[in-house]
């Protein structure tokens, strides 16, 4: 099981943080920095569009498989491809944490990881007095934390 890539997107849709993790044979190719922005804003937009398309009945499927803090009820929840999954977490404040993971990552593990990343965001990003909301995250402490937790999943 592996985590290939992480995107953190602000509530207005700008890319705050992006990281590709070094995993052998990762199906997620490295992009140039402009493409990361395109991917982020595309995901943000698709998520919003999806929220308008989701039939009410389908919502129940989401209820079971998300954290209580995940406010993403109708929007884009998960993209399943043959090689990897893209999973979207969204907090009540509009922050999106998007993970690209291998297909064998169990749901409970995924939720755990989403929660952990959200915790690191609150602890290491928001509590930094010099961090301004909506600005790209450039913090070594956050980097290290993310890397160490993700590494523990990449086995």
């Amino acid at each position: 099981m592996s985590v290939y890539s992480l995107y953190v997107i602000s509530k207005s849709g700008s890319l705050l943080y992006q990281k590709d993790f070094r995993v052998p044979n990762s199906p997620v190719a490295k992009q140039n920095s402009n493409d990361y922005l395109v991917i982020a804003s595309t995901l943000h937009g698709v998520h919003a569009i999806a929220s308008k398309l989701t039939p009410k009945e389908a919502m129940n499927n989401y209820e079971k498989s998300r954290l209580p803090t995940n406010s993403n009820k109708y929007g884009l929840h998960c993209i399943t491809t043959e090689l990897f999954n893209v999973c979207v977490f969204q907090s009540a404040t509009g922050l999106k944490i998007i993970l690209m993971t291998s297909k064998d990552l169990s749901e409970s593990k995924l939720l755990q990881l989403q929660d952990k990343l959200y915790e690191y965001y609150t602890d290491y990003v928001l509590k930094s007095p010099f961090y301004r909301l909506e600005m790209p995250i450039r913090m070594k402490s956050f980097d290290d934390k993310v890397l160490s937790v993700v590494t523990s999943y990449n086995v």
């Binding site: 209580p68 803090t69 406010s71 009820k73 884009l76 929660d115 928001l126 509590k127």
Partner: protein, 190 residues
């Protein structure tokens, strides 16, 4: 519901949050306020404003930590919000549980009565005749609440209406819901 909340607040306070020495905290806040008073030349309206702004900046960040630690999702109505602010919000960050009281008839505003206020230990307002009329010593709390509410798309008015420091019988924060910012609610929610 109310009991569960209390239990949850207690648990989080006990197990999840880092604690600091209360005197260090009180004195730090005290010296900030005193310094602000000096900097603004004892113009207390400006001091109130500055404290509010500081609180606001804290609030818009703190809310994410609150959501993460409590694992709570959006409240259904303002009544729940009030209970959660008092029993969990104040509990985990300040270890106090203000009483929710004085609901307006339309249930769009309520009061939070602080029986104790850790910010204001040891404090006596300056006796220059103005402070006891104008300065809201703990105004940072209003800013924090305002910031938190705004980030979860509740546009509220938050202000002190009485303070024991000024000789009132109680310390009360008034929260008034102006409107729910429906357009701002992130896509994917109701």
């Amino acid at each position: 519901m109310s009991r569960q909340l209390k239990q949850l607040g207690d648990d989080i306070w006990r197990n999840k949050v880092e604690k600091v020495n209360s005197e260090l905290f009180t004195l730090t806040y005290g010296s900030i306020v005193a310094q602000l008073c000096k900097d603004f030349n004892y113009n207390y309206d400006e001091v109130n404003n500055e404290l509010f702004q500081m609180g606001y900046s804290i609030g818009i960040r703190l809310i994410d930590e609150f959501l993460q630690k409590t694992q709570l999702s959006r409240c259904v109505n303002l009544k729940d919000t009030a209970e959660i602010v008092s029993k969990i919000g104040f509990k985990i960050f300040l270890n106090i549980t203000p009483t929710v009281a004085h609901w307006a008839a339309d249930y769009r505003s309520f009061g939070l009565i602080l029986t104790e206020n850790p910010l204001a230990d040891f404090v006596e307002l300056p006796d220059d005749g103005k402070a006891s009329k104008k300065l809201w010593y703990s105004n940072i709390l209003c800013g924090v609440l305002k910031g938190c509410f705004e980030m979860v798309q509740l546009d509220c008015d938050v202000s002190f209406i009485q303070d024991t420091l000024k000789g009132d019988d109680a310390t009360e924060i008034r929260v008034k819901l102006i409107k729910i910012l429906k357009d701002e609610i992130p896509a994917g929610e109701e």
